[in-house]
Subunit: 344 residues, 3 copies
């Protein structure tokens, strides 16, 4: 399809700098866009690429306007604009209907006539599959699972017994929802399993990345509230609750019974210890380790960026004696007659 | 089912404080239990919830007795008591028998008549499936795999060629056992694969969490000893040996040829470098990084809990000069005439 | 098979110290090899095992010759020699041909007559499967996927729409290639999905470990260049490019748009933040965190090895005040009249 910049800017609510009649027909990166493409500029790392782009139009914020060699669509949030343009140009997604000849559906399951059950998928007894749902190839739907309208399981997703998914969800391949939480009690050196009798409830408009796992609760449910977006290889333990519109990047580990607030952003490879509470609007940078509850919104960080190996080796060797070093400094302060205003 | 507190306390070996005739019929958390429910108190974080619980009975340790508003079942290990009560009230698990119409079983495989092979599962030649085994939907059982009595593969588990599982195991969806270890040798800048000719042996009573991977050995077997409990998304490299009754929490990375002792507890997101030995009874807190062998039992830790971002930024910038800082302190000590009793 | 040390040393290009007529017939570890076995010595940790090995021959470097009680095959890179010997003795791998009776192949897919499509696998429309390809049990091949010659998908691999694999690849169970990248734009507190319209291109001779995920690009492709070796549970975000002959150990997290050079080695559990560039020939030790681009080859590290818990607790508490400690040292230096040659 083709669309004029006039119409595009109107759809985006963007301010247009350039020829309103110019037609665009695709998207591209700043570096590789061709004439006819729309691109976007949202990360200052790529300013050189902006200055030399061959795109016909670029979505950008006002402060970048002077660097743009093409028509400009000015918005406060250029990445949001790009999301909309990409959706405009995205090829329509196939959505077949019916039950594939190699799928197996229990006679006791209820599958809406507008849903699709793909090749090699299985749907167990008493499952209820809503309208417009897509169960892709190789998915396993266990007993009593409930899936709301227009949710899409791309392929090879496993939903364990009784898991409930809302509407308009998107689950990528390898996702496992509702496996037992890690509940074990020690009996004189031998582990006894704690039966995991809760379930999992995923609300509407949740996206879950490839090979992510979300465990069922021990007694009550694990809950993912509406609009939560979860990347690949995230682990969410039993009885966790993730607040609405929180985003969780890849490889995050969330231990059991954690409560995360609304609109949080959890950076990749972060980890959160069990039973903690994270307030609303908390931003954790990548690789953060949380071992205490966070009670106020804000940006929190930990972790140690790389150095050259031989410098790091020296520093980390010193770290092993940091308590001692601090005491040595105190002794020097005493010696020099400095008032001790530190609690060390 | 209903059970009186008298009978329940007898079964648990607990000391009862309360009406022995009181009937209970389910379980609940301290916060949400209803009358008729049994709850438990094992984490001091939840003391307020204990004080206001509506549960009819609470399993707890003697020192919490005075805070309990309900009947009390006093045990040294309340969580163990809860595990037993939950098992009592857990609904019986379905265990069908036979080979599902959509499963494929090689004519050269041996499947015990009391086992179940679920929908879309496949069992390859020369595999041997023991009595009461459950192979859930979508599982892949490769050639020569051996599975002991009453082991349950929930769904979509992959056992590669020759993997041996003991009895009473429980493997959650997405588990992969016996994939090739990461063995590569460098030949003038190009990697040459080292064939992985060992196998994997999992002993009895082992539980393995969703999407966990355990690689086959390069020459000898990777071994998981009896009673080991492994959470989700754990990676266990080739030729690792995990000692009996060790517990490994989620997202732990264990490199090749590591030997872990018996009764260890490895916290979530910890990592252990290759070829190390961990003694018996070692406890690693969450996110620990192990880069040397640990020869004595005890609690070990590393990692850096989050701070507010701007404080962390300052501290981590200083860390990059910690060796230098230590030298500056030494110079001050020299200046002040302090004896150098430090090796720095 | 049996082979004489004379022939074996010729094949390896190794210098033989020992009886050229001696026959060997298998491989073993230094510790458990039997007479007739070949072993190798490449890690100084195992020198004691070398000195007492029962192997008939050991591949080793010249400097270890004097510790070897058996015939020796001397090579600069003993591990490479072992890789070759193991390949020699490895049992030939089964490679059936045809389409299994329980597989489903779209009539619009093109499958080479020498390829194998295993049990419960599915191949969607317009996919093209090359000669000698093995699609193991339970694999899902989506629309328009292209797979080059002799690539092997062991089992339960998912290739999403349009993914292209080169020749001689090896993909282990649970791999997911081409799931949507994590692209979300915030619209007043609600996340809007950014359609992921790029693909994934995997070049020749790439190995990918169990449960690893590689996302499709947002606009352009995610690219894994030739000869790259990736271990288990690695996450590679959208639009990443990994240079030829780079090796990535288990549990590494690579965020979106990262560019990694050629011949790099990324240690296990390392993480790399988004949009960074890593030069050629960079070596990252295990658990490294990269938050800035690395422009020069070399060895880089971060992370904190474990200490006994109570020592670590003291040190980490001090770390939280490291900026303050550095200021205190500066004050002492001022007091002592030291020239401030530090920028602190």
């Amino acid at each position: 399809m083709k669309i004029s910049l006039q119409e595009l800017s109107a759809r985006l609510g963007a301010q247009l700098h350039g020829d309103p009649a110019l037609q665009v027909q695709g998207i591209g990166t700043l570096q590789h866009a061709k004439p006819g493409d729309v691109s976007f500029f949202a990360n200052p790392r790529y300013r050189k690429q902006l200055e030399t782009t061959a795109a016909s139009a670029v979505i950008l914020a006002a402060d970048a306007l002077s660097f743009c060699p093409a028509a400009a669509l000015v918005m406060d949030n250029p990445y949001l604009g790009f999301a909309r343009v990409a959706a405009l140009f995205a090829p329509p997604q196939e959505r077949p209907v019916g039950i594939h000849e190699t799928a197996w559906v229990s006679p006791d399951a209820v599958v809406h006539e507008s849903a699709w059950i793909g090749p090699q998928a299985s749907v167990a007894a008493r499952a209820r599959i809503g309208p417009d749902v897509v169960i892709g190839p190789g998915c396993v739907i266990a007993e009593e699972v409930v899936i709301g309208q227009a949710t899409r399981l791309v392929a090879r997703v496993t939903l364990c017994q009784g898991v409930r998914l809302g509407s308009r969800g998107l689950l990528h391949p390898g996702v496992v929802i509702g496996a037992d939480g890690f509940g074990i009690a020690n009996d004189s050196g031998v582990w006894v399993k704690v039966p995991q009798l809760g379930g999992v409830r995923i609300e509407d408009d949740v996206e879950i990345g490839a090979n992510t796992t979300i465990d069922r609760g021990a007694i009550e449910d694990t809950v993912i509230e509406q609009g939560v977006k979860i990347d690949n290889q995230v682990q969410i333990g039993h009885n966790v609750r993730v607040g609405a519109h929180t985003a969780i990047a890849g490889c995050v580990a969330i231990a059991g019974s954690v409560r995360i607030g609304k609109r949080c952003a959890i950076g990749g490879a972060a980890s959160i210890a069990g039973h903690l509470e994270i307030a609303d609007d908390v931003f954790l940078t990548a690789a953060s380790e949380v071992s205490k509850s966070i009670t106020h919104r804000g940006i929190y960080s930990s972790g140690m960026p790389v150095q050259e190996n031989q410098i790091w080796r020296k520093n980390i060797a010193r770290f092993r004696h940091l308590d001692d070093l601090t005491r040595r400094v105190r002794r020097l302060e005493d010696h020099c007659g400095f008032t001790q205003d530190h609690d060390s």
